[in-house]
Symmetry: C2
Subunit: 189 residues, 2 copies
């Protein structure tokens, strides 16, 4: 507390937390320095002292998202089922904070977000018998599919069809198709 002005003292962690709440509930555009200052009960300029400028603040937000991503565990007996379970778990986790995921994606931090599952999936692909030189492609395709289903979650329902299609159904259809293809590749190799 600042005795002279009557305004609260603020920490960097506090700034980041409130900023994260604004992004989660009102979207990235709603994160303005003035609104943030208001909700913190501090002057706009004090934010700059703690976290640098808006760009660095968003970077800190993304860093925290990545750090918060707990290590996901594979479930199932076969490599196919274990890969599917990892993809679903990742998707579920990312869907809790889609706004922040979009921010992370814009800043090319998607790789970092996928790091926890990346190695686990690669291991399952090896068990499955996929040739080593096809692992990179498979990982990329799977990651694309997961991130897509999170980033495009809002639009998929109104994707211009006569009947509405469930987002999960689309996700599962393509995931199954990819796993079929990977198993086929492993079999012929």
């Amino acid at each position: 507390m600042n005795a002279a002005t009557g305004t609260k003292s603020v920490t960097a962690d506090e700034v980041i937390e409130v900023a994260g709440r604004i992004v989660d509930t009102h979207g990235a555009d709603a994160l303005t320095m003035r609104r943030l200052a208001d909700e913190l009960g501090a002057a706009v300029t004090s934010i700059y002292w703690h976290v640098g400028n808006r760009d660095e603040l968003v970077d800190a937000l993304v860093d925290r998202l990545i750090a918060d991503m707990g290590t996901l565990r594979a479930r199932g007996a076969t490599p196919r089922e274990r890969i599917a379970s990892l993809a679903r778990a990742m998707r579920r986790q990312l869907l809790e904070r889609p706004q922040l995921v979009a921010l992370a994606h814009e800043r090319a931090r998607t790789p970092a977000m996928f790091q926890p599952v990346q190695d686990a999936i690669a291991r399952e692909l090896a068990v499955m018998g996929l040739p080593g030189d096809e692992t990179a492609l498979a990982l990329r395709a799977l990651q694309m599919h997961v991130i897509t289903s999170v980033l495009l979650i809002r639009s998929i329902d109104r994707f211009g069809a006569q009947e509405p299609v469930d987002a999960v159904e689309v996700f599962e259809f393509t995931l199954a198709a990819m796993l079929d293809a990977l198993e086929a590749r492993a079999r012929t190799a």
Copy 2:
């Protein structure tokens, strides 16, 4: 030409065209009313008279993109090859103006963009023998795949793998996997 002020007269078409060039070459964020006015050689406020506000201007830009999308023709002998050719043609066309595609997507106009190919692909799916009640899902999945490959084009290369993977390769892998799955569904039905 306005004789009194020496500034050029401007038409709505002109505004939209210059705005489109700014978006294509410098991105959507670069499209500010003041910059647009500068490049047009007119006052900021005259833009409002011709195209309404920024929001309506972007809508007009998207409308024009959709209108410009020529009807794409399928190539190949089999339904599978014809669907693949439509997906590739669509992708190629959208890749010419990725910034505008992103704008159209944000505004939920993706369905309209896909309208030209939507019907053509549905026809091929019917020839292939896919049950009618699975057509909507297949269309949605294919559209998701095409739009993804355009929207995520910038990030795919740095997607955090050891070796870089070609974007076209990822696109073709998943496309082939989906077509395999659809053919299998058609066969068992």
